[in-house]
Amino acid sequence: MKSKSSNTHMTLHLKVWRQKGPHAEGKLCDYELEGVNPDMSFLEMLDILNQKLILKGEEPVAFEHDCREGICGSCSMVIDGNPHGPQKSTTACQLHMRHYRDGQTIVIEPFRAKAFPVMKDLVVDRSAFDRVIQSGGYISVNTGSSPDGNALPIAKEKADLAFDAATCIGCGACVAACRNGAAMLFVSAKVSQLALLPQGQAERSERVAKMVYQMDAEDFGACTNMGSCAGACPKDISLENIARLNREFMRSMVSGRKSYPRGDGANEGSPA
C-alpha cells in the first residue's frame, strides 16, 4: 500500500452523468473537485461535490446510499465502466479515494440496463429485483414458538453454500456489469440460498419457475456465461450459483407442476 499523508489533497476531474428525470435526456457533465482527502470514501467525495454545488446554487448529484458500510446494497454507480468501481469485492461506499491520484479523471455513470431505468442522475429504479423476490424468493412458514435448536440437521457444506449465496445484498451490480443486462447472478443466489436448505424444499420447484419467469418478464437479458457479473459482485457470489439455477430450473420443469402462474409477483399460496 502507498502511504499517503492524509494532508495531501487531490484535485479530481469528474465526469458525472446528469439526467433531470426518467424521460429527460442525460449527458456527462464535467466538474473539477479540489481538496479531496485520500481517506475519504467515494461517496464522501461525492458529498463534497454536492456541498459545493449547493453553495453555488446548482442541483446536487442524486445518488443512492444508506449504510455506507458495504452491507445494504444501496449504492449503485458505475465508476470508469466498473460497477462499484475498480476494486474487487468492494461496494462503492467502501471504495476509498486513496486508490486515485491527483489530477485523475473519473467517469461516473448510473447502472445501465433496461430493467433498471434511470430515475435521476445516478439513481436507477431497482424495484424489478423486489418483484422477482415477491414472485417466489421466500419460504412460507407456520409461525409459532421458535423451533428447538438442531431440530433440523443441515450438512456443513450445504449450510456454507447457502450462506455464501445469502450474502447477496441485491445491489444489482451483476445486472450493471452484464453486457446483456441479465439478472442471473442475483436470481441464482436467491434461488440457491433456499434450494439448499430444508426450509426451502416445500416450494422449491414452484419458486425457481416463478422467479425465472418474473426475471424474464422484467426485461432482464439472457445469460451468455461471460462472468463479468461475478467479477463485479461486491459479495463474491460465485458463478456456480448460476449453474445451480439452470439445474434447479430444469429440475422444476421435469418434476414440477405442469404450469405455474406467470409473473404477477403475487404469492400463490400452497406449493404443488
Partner: protein, 221 residues
C-alpha cells in the same frame, strides 16, 4: 401455458437449447477434424473414408439432422442476441477492467457464429457440390475428393481464408464448449477448473487441427 412451451420461451430454456445443439456440432467438428487427418496418410485412405461415409444411406438422415441443428442453434442464438440488445440499451463510456469485463471470445459469439455459418455454406459449395473427379480402387469407383482438396489447398488465398475462419471457429468454441457445462448446470467446485481447461483445449485442438491440414498440403503435397 404448458410447462414445455414456457420452458422453451424462457431465457434459461433457450440457453439449454443452445447448449444441447452446441454439443452436436462440437462433436461433429472434432470428428470431422480427426477424420480429415487421413489427408496425411494418402489419397486411397482419404477417398475410402469419404466413400464409406457418403455411400451409407444413413448419410441423408444425418446431414438433415446436422443442418436442422445448426439452423436451430443459429436462430435461437439470434433471438437471444436480439433480446439482449434490447435489455442492454446503452453501454458505459469507459470499458470495464479485468474481472468486471467480459472476454473477447464471449463478446463476439454472434460474429464468430455468423462467420461459421457463412463458412459452412461456402465449404459445402466448394467440396460437396464442387467439381467431381473419379477414381477406382480395387474395382470400386468412387469420388476422388482427395484431388479436389489438394487443388484447393494449393490456392494461397483459399488456404489463408480457411485458416482465418478456423481461428474464428476456435474463438467460438473457446467460449462455447466450456460454457456448455455451466449452462447445463454441470458444475462442481472440484471439477470446474477441469471443465474450463477441457473447453479451452477442445477449441485449440479443433482449430489447430483444421489449420494444420491446408498448411500440410500447401507445403508438403
Amino acid at each position: 401455458m404448458s410447462a414445455n412451451s414456457s420452458f422453451l420461451t424462457s431465457t434459461i430454456g433457450k440457453k439449454y437449447l443452445m447448449a444441447l445443439t452446441a454439443i452436436v456440432w462440437s462433436l461433429f467438428v472434432m470428428v470431422h477434424m480427426i477424420g480429415n487427418m487421413l489427408i496425411v496418410v494418402g489419397a486411397e485412405a482419404y477417398n475410402n473414408y469419404s466413400h464409406a461415409l457418403t455411400s451409407n444411406p444413413m448419410i441423408y438422415l444425418i446431414e438433415a439432422f446436422l443442418v436442422a441443428v445448426l439452423l436451430f442453434h443459429a436462430v435461437t442464438g439470434l433471438t437471444l442476441v436480439v433480446r439482449n440488445s434490447r435489455t442492454k440499451p446503452k453501454f458505459y463510456s469507459v470499458t470495464p477492467m479485468r474481472e468486471k469485463s467480459a472476454s473477447i471470445a464471449s463478446r463476439t459469439m454472434i460474429y464468430t457464429g455468423t462467420a461459421t455459418l457463412a463458412f459452412v455454406i461456402w465449404h459445402l459449395i466448394t467440396f460437396k457440390f464442387g467439381p467431381t473427379y473419379f477414381v477406382t480402387y480395387n474395382g470400386v469407383e468412387m469420388r476422388d475428393i482427395y484431388k479436389l482438396v489438394i487443388e484447393k489447398f494449393h490456392e494461397p488465398l483459399y488456404v489463408a481464408g480457411y485458416a482465418v475462419v478456423m481461428i474464428l471457429i476456435g474463438f467460438h468454441l473457446f467460449h462455447g464448449v466450456q460454457s456448455i457445462f455451466q449452462t447445463l448446470g454441470i458444475s462442481h467446485p472440484r471439477y470446474n477448473k477441469f471443465f474450463k481447461f477441457f473447453g479451452y483445449t477442445y477449441a485449440v485442438v479443433v482449430a489447430a487441427g483444421f489449420i494444420s491440414q491446408p498448411l500440410f498440403v500447401f507445403f508438403a503435397r
